[in-house]
Symmetry: C2
Subunit: 219 residues, 2 copies
Amino acid sequence: MKKTYSEENYLKAIYHIDQNGLKVSPKAIAAALDNNPASVIDMIKKLQEKLLISYDKVNGAKLTPPGKASALDIIRKHRLWEVFLVEKLGYDWDEVHDIAEQLEHIQDDRLAAKLDAFLGNPSFDPHGDPIPAENGKMPVYANILLSDLEIGKMGKVGSVRDTSTPFLKYLKQLQLGLGSSIEVLDKLEFDQSMIISINNGPPQTVSSKMTSNILLIPC
Amino acid sequence: MKKTYSEENYLKAIYHIDQNGLKVSPKAIAAALDNNPASVIDMIKKLQEKLLISYDKVNGAKLTPPGKASALDIIRKHRLWEVFLVEKLGYDWDEVHDIAEQLEHIQDDRLAAKLDAFLGNPSFDPHGDPIPAENGKMPVYANILLSDLEIGKMGKVGSVRDTSTPFLKYLKQLQLGLGSSIEVLDKLEFDQSMIISINNGPPQTVSSKMTSNILLIPC
DNA sequence: TTCATTAATTAGGTTAATCTAATTATATAT
DNA sequence: ATATATAATTAGATTAACCTAATTAATGAA
Ligand SMILES: [Mn+2]
Ligand SMILES: [Mn+2]
Ligand SMILES: [Mn+2]
Ligand SMILES: [Mn+2]
C-alpha cells in the first residue's frame, strides 16, 4: 500500500488534530493543510476506500489501526530527520521543520532504522517532541515529582496525579497548568513544604501534599 | 525558478545522455526515464519555455547554461546523499541509488553545502563518480603516470598525454583504451620498460616512452 | 422558533504529468 | 526510387490533487 505525499500529509494532520483533542472535521483538516474543505472531502473519500480512516459528519475522521501506524511512521521519520539536521548538519532548531516536512516522505524500508541507529536512538526531537519507536510506542518523559526536585532546579508541568476538582481549582488559582514552569526556591525541613516560583513569578509557599501530586519534565 | 521533481529528473537525464556522447532525442530521454516519447515532447516544450533547454529535431535537446547549472546541482545532491547513505548509515554501495533518487529533490538553500561539509567535502561518490562542486566544477581524478605505478599495483586508464595517431594506433593494437585496467607485473631497471597485464590478459612488455604517456586512476 | 451564520458537501473546472493511438517525417535497404 | 521501418509529433484521454461557486445541513442567537 504505497502512499502519495499528499495522503501521508493528510494522515499526519488527522493524527495531530486528534492528539489536540479536537474533532477532526473537514474544516480543521483544511486549516491544518492550508487548503480547501472541498479538497479535503475528496481525500477523505480516498482514505476511507483505502481503509486508513473512518469518517462521519458527527464524529469526524478517525484513523484506523493501519492509518495510525502510517501516521506514526511519518512522524517518526520527520522527527528523526529533524534530529539529524540539528545534531549533524548544524541547523538551528527553528530552521528544520520545512526540510523535515520533505524528508519525512523518503521511502525505504530500512532508512528510519538506520537513521535512528546513526543518531543514537534519540527519544525526543529538537523541539522536545517524542519520537515514536518502530512499533509506534511513544517514549514517556522521565517525569519527576515536584517534591523530589532539588532546590535551585526547574521543570515544566507535564501531568498531575490528583485530578480532583478541588486540586485542579487550587492549581488554577495558582495560575499553574500543563507546561507552566516551576523553580524550587527553598524547601522547609519542618513539614516538607516548598517555596516555588511559577512562570518566574513571585515566591509562593505550597504544601507537601501539593508537591507530591505534580509531575515535572526536568529542564 | 522552482522546479518540479519531474523537471529535475528530465534535466538530469538530458545531462547524462549528452555526457555519453549521444544525441538527446525524445526516444533516448523516454528510455532513460522509462516513459513515453509523447510525454517527453510535452516536457521538452515546457523546458524550452523556461529557457532551460534548446531543442530541434536534428540536434536534439541541449541544456542552456542555467539548465546545465540545475542539472549539476541535482547530480551534486544525488552523489552527496549517496556518500551519506554509505559512509554514515552503512548501506552497501549498490543499495543507495533509488534512495538518492528521492533525496536529490529535497529543497533547501543551505542543505547541499552543509551535507558536503559534514561528509568532509568528498570528491567522488560510492560508485567512483565525481561530485560537482557548488560552482559546477567537476573534480579531476588524481591521475598517476603508468611509469610511476609500483610493481603489483593496478589502475584504470583515465587519459593519455600523447594523442598522436601513431601512439593511439599502438594503443589500439594493444587493445588498450580509456577504462582498460593495467596491472604492473615487473619493471626493468635497465631501460625502465615494464611488463604489464592489460585487462588481466597475458604479460606484455612496453617501453618507458609508452608508460610515461598513460595516465591512470589508481585502484 | 425562526433567521442568520457557519460547516459540509456537490458540481464542475484546472493543471501537471502521464498514457494510447493515430499521423507525419526521416532514415534504411533493397 | 520506392518500400519499409523507425522516430517524432499530434490528438485525445486519464489520474491525482487541487480550485471556485453553488447547494444542503447543522448550529445558535434573538
Ligand atoms: Mn510533508
Ligand atoms: Mn519537531
Ligand atoms: Mn529523482
Ligand atoms: Mn552514484
